[in-house]
């Protein structure tokens, strides 16, 4: 019903350009797995390699333990949902859904029955007779999913399927897709550049940058314990304090940055020594107002630049001592004041929520 997907040391090269470098992971059967990364990081190429449209230059793909080298996309137990959905415009909804059965020679009656079942599954009952272009964006999404599911794949691949939808619909579809996946029990491999999507939907996430997989793990781990500076800056918002390591005490480090001396904990698997260049990351929600002036650690003197209201969060954009932009977020529990521009306030970063990582490329602003 669902299968593991193993990528064994896959490299994909196009002439001079290497799109994917040494990708080596195993995706468990029945898992909702996401590849997360900015455009051009190679996630689409990887997806096409798994589905059979792109042969890797090196390495191989295994699905369910079987080597897929040389096997075309129509023979692999995968189904791909394209970014633009690629629904067949000249066919009706149920013809689209039943297509994979049609090419196998299944009888018309059987096909119609199956299509109706799937329409129920994706909450589009009775829409089978319509033409594709009579449906709304969200409805088309669901038809695409139904069509892919009709092929009874062991692995379902989704290429940024929600990027064309508006916010509300996107949020709704996130939950829906997750539910469908759990009901069907198939391995879902999902690619996106939206980390909110990845975090809410996936069992595990692989963060990619320029062809390399930087970290693989569950959402909480990737978020709270990023393995590299890139992952830290890409997944969720993060303030990055550049500096040099002055002290290392087991799993704690002290880094001297422009804003102040920061005490942070060392990321797992990260090795830093005194004198190394490092970045201390602190999430906006890890910054708070100074409570006990004297015993507070990681205190920064800032000046208010800007205050934003985003519904359930208040954001304060602050300017640090050397001009660094710092973002601080407070839950809207009714207690937040409104500050004028230029107000001087002191803030502190919880050392347990500050993480130090070796210096590396950050996500683009």
């Amino acid at each position: 019903m669902s299968a593991d997907v193993t990528l064994e040391n896959i490299t994909v090269k196009f002439d001079e350009f290497t799109a994917v470098k040494n990708a080596d992971i195993t995706i468990k059967g029945g898992e909702f797995f996401s590849f997360l990364g900015p455009s051009g990081c190679g996630k689409t190429t990887l997806l096409r390699a798994i589905s059979g449209f792109q042969e890797p230059s090196e390495g191989l793909v295994r699905i369910g333990g079987k080597d897929m080298t040389g096997i075309g996309p129509n023979k692999r137990p995968t189904a791909l949902i394209f970014q633009n959905l690629a629904l067949f415009p000249l066919m009706t909804v149920w013809e689209n859904i039943a297509f994979s059965l049609e090419v196998k020679g299944v009888s018309k009656a059987e096909r119609m029955k199956r299509a109706d079942e799937l329409l129920e599954l994706v909450a589009l009952p009775g829409q089978g007779g319509k033409m594709v272009n009579e449906l709304s964006g969200g409805q088309r999404q669901r038809v695409a999913v139904a069509r892919a599911l009709a092929a009874e794949p062991e692995v379902l691949l989704l290429d940024e399927p929600l990027s064309a939808l508006d916010l509300k619909l996107r949020q709704h579809m996130r939950t829906e897709l997750r539910e469908i996946q759990q009901r069907a029990g198939i391995t879902f491999i999902y690619i996106t550049h939206d980390q909110g999507e990845a975090l809410t939907m996936s069992d595990r996430i692989a963060v990619m940058r320029e062809g390399l997989i930087e970290q693989v793990g569950e959402g909480t781990i990737v978020y709270d314990n990023p393995a590299t500076a890139f992952v830290a800056s890409f997944v969720g918002e993060n303030n990055a304090f550049h500096g040099t390591v002055t002290k290392v005490i087991s799993s704690k480090v002290v880094v001297n940055t422009d804003s102040c001396e920061l005490e942070a904990y060392l990321a797992e698997g990260s090795k830093l020594s005194v004198g190394d260049k490092a970045i201390v990351f602190a999430r906006p929600e890890a910054i708070s107002f100074v409570k006990r002036k004297n015993s507070a650690k990681n205190v920064i003197n800032t000046e208010v630049v800007h205050q934003e209201f985003e519904g359930h969060f208040w954001h304060l954009i602050l300017k640090g001592p050397k001009g660094m932009k710092i973002k601080m977020s407070q839950i809207n529990d009714g207690s937040t004041q409104v500050y004028d521009e230029g107000t001087k306030i002191q803030v502190q970063i919880d050392p347990k929520q500050a993480i130090a990582l070796a210096i590396g490329p950050l996500a683009a602003e």
């Binding site: 589905s51 059979g52 449209f53 075309g72 996309p73 129509n74 023979k75 995968t78 189904a79 791909l80 394209f82 633009n84 690629a86 629904l87 067949f88 000249l90 297509f99 994979s100 049609e102 090419v103 196998k104 033409m131 272009n133 009579e134 449906l135 709304s136 069509r147 892919a148 092929a151």
Partner: protein, 421 residues
Amino acid sequence: MSSATILRLTTSFYIILFFAYLFGPLIVMSITAFNSAAFPRLSPWDCFSTEWFGVLVNDARMMDGFKNSLIIGFAVVLVSVPIGLAGALMLSQLSNRVRPVFYTLTISTILVPGVVLGISTLIFWDRMGMMFNAGYESFFYDGIVLTVIGQSTFISAYTMLVFISRLQRFDPVLEEAALDLGATNIQTFRKILLPFLKPAIGSAAVLAFLASFENYNTTVFTIVSESTLTTVLASKVRYGINPSISALAVIIIGLTLTVAFIHEVLKRKEQAREIALKKEGQSVKEKSTVRKPFRNPVPVMVLLIFVVGLGTAWMARGYDVQQCKIEVFEEKRKHQEELSKKRRAEMQKKLNTQKSTSSSDPVESTKKAAPGTIQYGNIFAPTNLEGQVESNETEPEIQKNQYQNIFAPTNLEGQVKSENE
């Protein structure tokens, strides 16, 4: 008037003149089809008659040529549409370096003069026939087969262009989706690509048929001993034109306009449907599309003309052509009589003045008069009148044609040969 207005007026005038140039000959020709005169002309207008349509249908050579044109047309469609499709598909898959070469090669078939295509096809298959020692009955020498081959060579390029233009709007991802869902290459082709190309196949087929039907330059060489409608028409230059050709023109023009009208109506329905579908979730309203074609003036005009034409034809049924002809004939006879009366009077005058001036030579003057009377004597005989009137119409034309051809002896011989072969 400002210079801008003058410019605009001049341009409009020019455009009108241009369209007069474009339609003039056709309109004139159509009208001549209904003139009972033996040579197509507008004036003098003898009688309104539809007899030339009958002559057209009874012309065996023309009908034979027409039949061949139809056969060849259908065959060319069957050959050139698949070729054009293959060409278009190939083109879409070639690398950026090879593609221009391939494109140039295929487009060259259109640019090369038709006569060259005809000649080269003829020679090639003739030599091939010799190599295989094929008999004269075999397909190597068959005019119909050769014409189909020769025409398809360049008509395939036309169909290819139609397919290229349609393919450009095809989303290749659809093919990938089909493959991904388990379809084989052939299934993808049959179920996804071909349905998309269906309208193009239709246009290409119509285009191919029309291009084949009206082709002359290539056909005249490859047709060998057969004939098509076009070669028959061309050979009429020697035999003399009569309004049956105009009748043919009227039929073809009428057909063309009807087809154009239908095409317009269909296209508008299609467009209306597309616009309606763009609004998400709405179903198409069928009623509104019927009224739309009548907003465009052209189909209305065409329909009007058609209706008027039919009405006139209906009303004219009580009108007897023969009667009209007899009347016309009578008029001409009267006209001739008056003319001859005049001439007689003048001759009398001349004779009288001659008699008075030179009385010494009555013999000579009578001699002079005698040939004159003999000339005019012919006119007076009523039976001769008939011959005179008719031959006035037909003889000069035939004479003219003959003279034209004599000056270009090659033309004459060429036409003779084509009749005999």
